[in-house]
Structures are given as structure tokens and as C-alpha cells.
């Protein structure tokens, strides 16, 4: 009898998997939202693989990892409604747009989520009724006017978004690629997984298939939408992976200080950080070993005490 195919890959296979699925100039989708549930370890692998001219989309809110991809020169275009660290702006995003190095398409939440929905449903567009008065739809490359075939009413259409590759993060999964988010929120991860050609998921831990079978309603993304799964410790860091570890605001802030200095004409600190702490990390263990000893236990404790 033959064995069921396992989708689990090892950490040292991620680079080859990325290069097999993604080419320069392709659309890459990133799961999570702002500073939570972001597949940041996988994003660092994209940076190490030295992709160029990528188009990047995500859920409606992006921050640190998209800024990092821009800082390392991987990105040509963004389809991200908001790119912000929330309490402060994303310096590399801002810098690159102001210097004309990247094209930040003027999209909003409904156009991007509608785009994933259309792609997941196998239709060319999703009708939208909700935009009036804003300048965003006027400049939004995903949006066109349509006429309702039943009522003649004028509506908007938002074009299907079909990422070549999606990277998402969940707390748990099995070797067959079934994912289980333990976080309360799951953002647009389920839609992004259904909308994309190929999906790589990082998880905090691989659980036994029997464990997935015992609670099927909790499987957030079934394995039919996941092509590769990799177990990596703290794979979302510095974003939070609730309820396992909270958001490393200090790490993100330290990066933002360096990127802001670069924006203002002093790029050396950012260059060192990117070379040593992003591209220069041989492994996830190596990356984590550079954090202060108390950092990860503190993030775990914060998540536990919420």
C-alpha cells in the first residue's frame, strides 16, 4: 500500500520551493494583518532568494514585512490598501514611493478582498456597491464600472487577484497541510489560500493528523488549498502568533528607527541590519539567537496573560 503524500518541507528546502514557484515580477500574497499572523520567516527567505520586481498584496493591512521587502529591493509594485506600523508610518515604503522606486497602487480593502474572493470563486470579478465620493476608486487599477444585468444599476467591479504564490502563517498544522489557526482572528488567510496558485504555510508546530481529525470544525484552511507546510519556531516574529507569542513592538520599532534614518539620508544602520540580521541569518535558530535572551519568554508571557 502506498503512503499518503506529505507536504511538509524542511527549513533548508524553503528557498528551492520559492524559486520553483515564484519568478521575478510575479504577484506574491502575504497572509496575516499588520503585526499579527505574518509569515515573516518565509518573507526573509524571499529576501534571501533575492527576488526582484515583485508585486505584493496582502490582507487590507500591512506593515513591517512589506516594508522589509521594499527596503531590500525586492518590490516593484504594491497592492496593499494600508501600509503602516500604526503608531508610525512605514519608512521604507514611504521613501520608495516618494522617490518613485515603487508603484503603490491605490487600492482599498474591498477591492483586494473582493479580488481574492473572485479568484477563489473562479470568476473574473466581484461586484461592489459600496464606493462613493472617494478618490480611491478613480485611481484603483482593480476597479471598473459595470451595469447590473438584472436591474441596469451601475456598480463597480473589482478584478480577480490571483497571486502566483501565497505565504501564510498558522499556529498549527499537520504534515498533509491542514492548517489550524488558534488565534481569534484569521484575517484574509482563508481567502488568500483559495485565491492563489501555490500556498506555502509556516506553523509554530506540526500536530498529529489524528489531532486535526478530532476537531475538524477548527481546521481553518483545509489541505486542498495548501501545497507546502514548514514548522519553524517563532516563524511569525516579530509579528504576533496568538496565543503562542505576542507582538515584538520593540524589534519593529528598532527597525523603523533605522529605516527612518535611511529615509533621512543616513542608510548605514539599515544596511548593516539588513545584511546581518535579515540576509545574513543562516537559519531561523540563528535569527532567533540574535534576540535578547528575555525577549521571547516575555512575548510568550504577554500572549498567555491576555
Amino acid at each position: 500500500m502506498s503512503e499518503r503524500y506529505t507536504k511538509q518541507i524542511a527549513e533548508n528546502e524553503i528557498g528551492a520551493c520559492l524559486r520553483a514557484q515564484l519568478s521575478d515580477g510575479d504577484l506574491l500574497a502575504i497572509g496575516g494583518l499588520f503585526k499579527q499572523g505574518r509569515p515573516t520567516a518565509l518573507v526573509r527567505e524571499v529576501i534571501k532568494a533575492d527576488f526582484k520586481d515583485l508585486k505584493v498584496s496582502s490582507s487590507p493591512g500591512s506593515g513591517f514585512d512589506v516594508d522589509l521587502l521594499i527596503a531590500t529591493g525586492c518590490v516593484a509594485e504594491t497592492y496593499c490598501p494600508a501600509v503602516t506600523l500604526e503608531e508610525r508610518m512605514c519608512p521604507s515604503f514611504r521613501h520608495a514611493v516618494e522617490e518613485g522606486r515603487i508603484r503603490a497602487h491605490c487600492v482599498d480593502a474591498l477591492s483586494v478582498v473582493g479580488g481574492y474572493l473572485a479568484s477563489a470563486n473562479g470568476v473574473p470579478f466581484q461586484p461592489v456597491a459600496a464606493w462613493k465620493g472617494s478618490d480611491v476608486p478613480k485611481h484603483n487599477p482593480l476597479v471598473a464600472h459595470i451595469t447590473c444585468p438584472f436591474t441596469g444599476e451601475t456598480l463597480f467591479a473589482t478584478r480577480a487577484l490571483r497571486p502566483k504564490l501565497a505565504l501564510i502563517h498558522a499556529q498549527e498544522g499537520d504534515v498533509y497541510g491542514n492548517l489550524r489557526h488558534l488565534s481569534t482572528m484569521t484575517y484574509a488567510d482563508q481567502m488568500i489560500a483559495r485565491a492563489s496558485d501555490f500556498v506555502i504555510a509556516s506553523v509554530d508546530r506540526i500536530v498529529a493528523p489524528d489531532d486535526i481529525l478530532s476537531r475538524p470544525r477548527e481546521t481553518s484552511v483545509p489541505n486542498i488549498y495548501v501545497d507546502a507546510i514548514v514548522e519553524l519556531p517563532y516563524a511569525a516574529h516579530p509579528s504576533g502568533s496568538f496565543p503562542h507569542y505576542s507582538i515584538d513592538e520593540a524589534y519593529i520599532d528598532a527597525y523603523a528607527d533605522l529605516a527612518e534614518a535611511a529615509r533621512k539620508g543616513a542608510p548605514e544602520g539599515l544596511r548593516m541590519f539588513l545584511e546581518q540580521d535579515v540576509s545574513g541569518c543562516a537559519s531561523q535558530r540563528d535569527y532567533l539567537s540574535r534576540l535578547p535572551d528575555t525577549r521571547l519568554p516575555a512575548l510568550e508571557e504577554e500572549a498567555r496573560n491576555l
Binding site: 494583518l33 499588520f34 503585526k35 499579527q36 490582507s59 487590507p60 493591512g61 496593499c80 490598501p81 494600508a82 501600509v83 503602516t84 500604526e86 503608531e87 508610518m89 512605514c90 515604503f93 514611504r94 514611493v97 516618494e98 518613485g100 508603484r103 503603490a104 491605490c106 482599498d108 480593502a109 474591498l110 478582498v113 473582493g114 474572493l117 461592489v128 456597491a129 459600496a130 464606493w131 462613493k132 465620493g133 472617494s134 478618490d135 480611491v136 485611481h139 488565534s183 481569534t184 482572528m185 484569521t186 484575517y187 484574509a188 488567510d189 482563508q190 481567502m191 504576533g240 496568538f242 496565543p243 505576542s246 507582538i247 513592538e249 504577554e302 500572549a303 491576555l306
Partner: protein
């Protein structure tokens, strides 16, 4: 200075606006709006419903820099996904909150760029996740944390979330309803003249003055003969805010 902070005052003033039984939401970096909602539930609106894009009726135990992650929303009555964006956006909410890089005389909000053009900006802002609530909510509140001539401008450089556009005619021509109800700034509460739909002073905060508001606003404020002083937090409001909503003193 009084025994409450400016942000605490803004949260209290906004909380009094929210009515029992209404359905509303706040955004991401939304400590003041979320404090207002939670305080309103404790004072006069126990049946106030909160349904943002991914969650229903969260129960945060403190305020956080972001009110859109599991730190704040991990405990809630229902966890949904961004698919609900369509449901909420199409049905609309009773109220929502906005902030912007620029806010103009008609309550339009800009989060995209200042100066230049969208793709050749002098300064690029973060953009906005969700613009549909501006047009689909019955009303929204503007709650900036700065009130200066730099962010209160005659006309925004880009309309991210629409207010009253260029006034009553353009607002009607765009087929819009709702619109900004009040702007609760660090200096004053501003409302909109029903005839021109331009901002005017509704009340001035106890620590400020009409002169200071005028001096720090980059457009001519509509005339209002009935300007009064914003009513400071009561002892009870401040106690509930500090003991239950914001025990870590994020707004202080």
C-alpha cells in the same frame, strides 16, 4: 491643566455620542474610539454593538496601540474574517471613526499623499484599509490627535474617505448619505453648518479658547453664535474610564 488628559476628554466626549442599541466599529490605531465605545457601554449604552471587519463585540481588558489584533480583540463574541467586509460594508453601520493626515473644511479625510500627485507625492501616507464605511455608515466621527494648520486644511490633496466633498451639491450629486457628524479634536468639538456643510466650532475644550482653535485651523471656520465649553468628564466617567476601560493609562 486639569485632572484628566486631552485624550481622555476626547474619549469621554465621543462616548456620550453613541446611543444604546447602535451598531458601530472602530479602526486599527483606534485607542480613543475604542475607549469611547467601551465607556459608552458602561455608562448609558449597555447594548451598544461593535462589529468591525473580523469580530463582534470584543471585550478588551485594556487599550493597546492597535485595536485590531488579538491583544485587544482576542476575547469577543464572534470571530469572523475579512469576508464580513462585504456584509458590513453593504449594510452599513450606525457609526464609524476616522483620522487623517489632512482633514478639510468639509470633513474629507486624506491618508494618501500631501503635495505632488498620487504616484509622485511629496509625502506618501499609509493609505487606508477600509474606505467603504465613510459612505456606508449613517455617520462618522473624526478624531485627530493633533489640531494644527498643517492637518486642518481648506481642501485635502486627496480624498481617501469622503466627508461632504465640496458641500451640499456635490455631496448630493455623488448620491451620498451620512457623512461626518462631529470632529472631536484635542482643542474643540467641531460640527458642520447644515447650510454649507463646513466645519464650525461647536464647543471649545476647557483648556483651550476660540482664539486658539481659530489660530490652529487652516481654513475659515463657519460662524456659530452658540459656542459653549465642552463638558469635562464627570467623576463617574473618569473613574470607569480609568478603572475598567484603560487601567494601564494609555490615554493619560
Amino acid at each position: 491643566m486639569s485632572d484628566y488628559s486631552i485624550q481622555e476628554l476626547q474619549a469621554v466626549l465621543l462616548s456620550r455620542e453613541l446611543k444604546n442599541g447602535e451598531l458601530g466599529a472602530a479602526g486599527a490605531a483606534a485607542a480613543i474610539p475604542m475607549a469611547a465605545i467601551l465607556l459608552a457601554r458602561l455608562t448609558h449604552a449597555p447594548d451598544l454593538q461593535i462589529a468591525g471587519e473580523m469580530f463582534v463585540n470584543p471585550n478588551p481588558t485594556q487599550l493597546w496601540p492597535s485595536m485590531l489584533d488579538d491583544r485587544a480583540l482576542g476575547a469577543c463574541e464572534a470571530a469572523e474574517t475579512f469576508l464580513e467586509l462585504f456584509g458590513h460594508s453593504h449594510r452599513g453601520l450606525d457609526f464609524f471613526f476616522h483620522n487623517g493626515l489632512q482633514i478639510d473644511a468639509h470633513g474629507n479625510i486624506n491618508l494618501h499623499h500631501i503635495g505632488g500627485t498620487l504616484h509622485e507625492p511629496k509625502m506618501r501616507g499609509p493609505g487606508a484599509a477600509n474606505i467603504s464605511y465613510a459612505g456606508q455608515s449613517k455617520r462618522f466621527y473624526i478624531c485627530p490627535t493633533v489640531h494644527s494648520r498643517r492637518n486642518f486644511v481648506e481642501r485635502v490633496d486627496f480624498i481617501t474617505s469622503p466627508g461632504y466633498l465640496d458641500g451640499p451639491e456635490s455631496f448630493a450629486a455623488a448620491g451620498m448619505n451620512g457623512g461626518p457628524h462631529l470632529c472631536v479634536s484635542p482643542l474643540a468639538v467641531l460640527d458642520f453648518d447644515p447650510d454649507t456643510l463646513r466645519m464650525r466650532i461647536h464647543s471649545v475644550h476647557p483648556h483651550s479658547s476660540v482664539e486658539e482653535v481659530v489660530e490652529n485651523t487652516g481654513f475659515e471656520l463657519g460662524a456659530n453664535r452658540n459656542v459653549h465649553m465642552s463638558k469635562p468628564p464627570t467623576r463617574d466617567e473618569l473613574r470607569l474610564l480609568r478603572e475598567i476601560v484603560d487601567p494601564r493609562g494609555y490615554l493619560r
